[in-house]
Amino acid sequence: MTPKVDSQAVRQAIEVLPLLSPSVTQLLQTLARDGYEIDDVVQIIKYDAALTARVLRTVNSPVFGLLNPVTSLERAISYLGERVIISIVLADQCGDMFTRPLPGYDAQQSALWRHDLFCAFASREMAGHARLACEPGLAFTAGLLHDIGKFVFSPFWAAASGEALERIEQGQVTDYLQAEQLLAGLDHAEVGFAMARHWQFPEALQAAIRYHHAPGLAPEQFRMLSYAVHLGDMLAMMAGADTGSDGMQYQLDGDYAQYFDVSSQDLAVIMLDAEEHFKKAEASLAVE
């Protein structure tokens, strides 16, 4: 079968992606490092006036209900925490990537942002149930970035996506990722991985993006993280924060139980907590 998508053209589209702003790159590097300090984050943000303004606007948004306005960047950052800060920075600097509709997936404006943001909180909650150490902050960032591949892949995928659900229903493939592979010759996780390399993301994030649908294949040092994001992704889709026609059409890797200790009760609590954080963050960030 000849793929309906020119994978060479997709690769080229990745090569010509503009570089991310230095504040994004630096922040991702910093947050992926063990034992970074709040001051490291302040140092990155303070040189960017627009970003500083946005952080202050967010902390003073009615969602947080603070009595006295926060005017110091350092106070704002320590109050909001790394989760909200990385979300603000990505929304501010890469907003278009997350908010543009995804025609290949039948997804509306901002669907990817909502999906990624929910996945981020759910991945972080999952990390708390890991049998071995799994850094919750890193799980959050990885969750936020896990599906960036869809941004580049979507317009190309539109030529073939009409057949994807049919192929799954007919049992020719086991899930949406395989349908992408079959019909396009590559999938959104692979595309995301190539983007992550292009942008020189820290290795852990590269791995989580690459393996979020096949966490068992991730190198051992990144396997917990990849599973956390894999499960966070499932929870986001279950909560209705999906990206359109591929919603819930992915295989859950049951081997997660080797790495995570979660009962169905735990899962209900995780779902509830993730949803609560998500709603609050969505309201305070208000990405247009």
Partner: protein, 162 residues
């Protein structure tokens, strides 16, 4: 046409002509819908989890989130719109409760939601006459006051009625 849009855990009922009650992308959540043809009252609750016992405070602030509290509350809303308190003559339909692929019981919150909703209806002496539940896709549902019709849609799959 005015739309009453329900988020997760929200509950809404209406008998205003021209109005529709709608909820987006149910995923593993379940929409419990009640219709009272006599007065054209319709109501819906977007249930996310089976039992409020996991977080009683949330049950207080957002009872519609849980099957055990949301279903009786929906009946109370219908009664407020003039339906009989014993539920007689109210038609109940369900949608949602989907799961991701891979047959994992722990992650099948959808199935537990459907069971809990049915249990809760049962305890009120009610039962669903139609349902579009389970499988691996997320449903958006719309309920019309004028026609009493329930329309379900899903990206890539079109729309249909129950």
């Amino acid at each position: 046409m005015r739309q009453v849009v329900l988020g997760i855990g929200d509950l809404g009922a209406s008998n205003t002509p021209g109005e529709v009650v709608k909820t987006y992308a149910l995923g593993s959540c379940v929409a419990v819908m009640m219709l009272y043809p006599k007065t054209r009252a319709v109501g819906m609750v977007h249930v996310a989890l089976p039992e409020s016992s996991i977080n009683p405070a949330k049950g207080q602030s957002c009872p519609g989130y849980f099957a055990d509290l949301g279903v009786p509350l929906l009946l109370r809303e219908m009664v407020r719109l003039g339906c009989p308190g014993n539920g007689r003559g109210i038609i109940v339909k369900l949608a949602g409760g989907a799961s991701v692929m891979g047959h994992n019981d722990t992650f099948n919150i959808g199935k537990r939601n459907i069971l809990a909703v049915k249990r809760s209806l049962w305890s009120l002496g009610m039962g669903a006459i139609a349902e579009d539940v389970g499988a691996n896709y997320s449903r958006t549902v719309t309920m019309s006051v004028d026609s009493g019709l329930i329309t379900i849609s899903c990206p890539g799959r079109g729309q249909w009625e129950i």
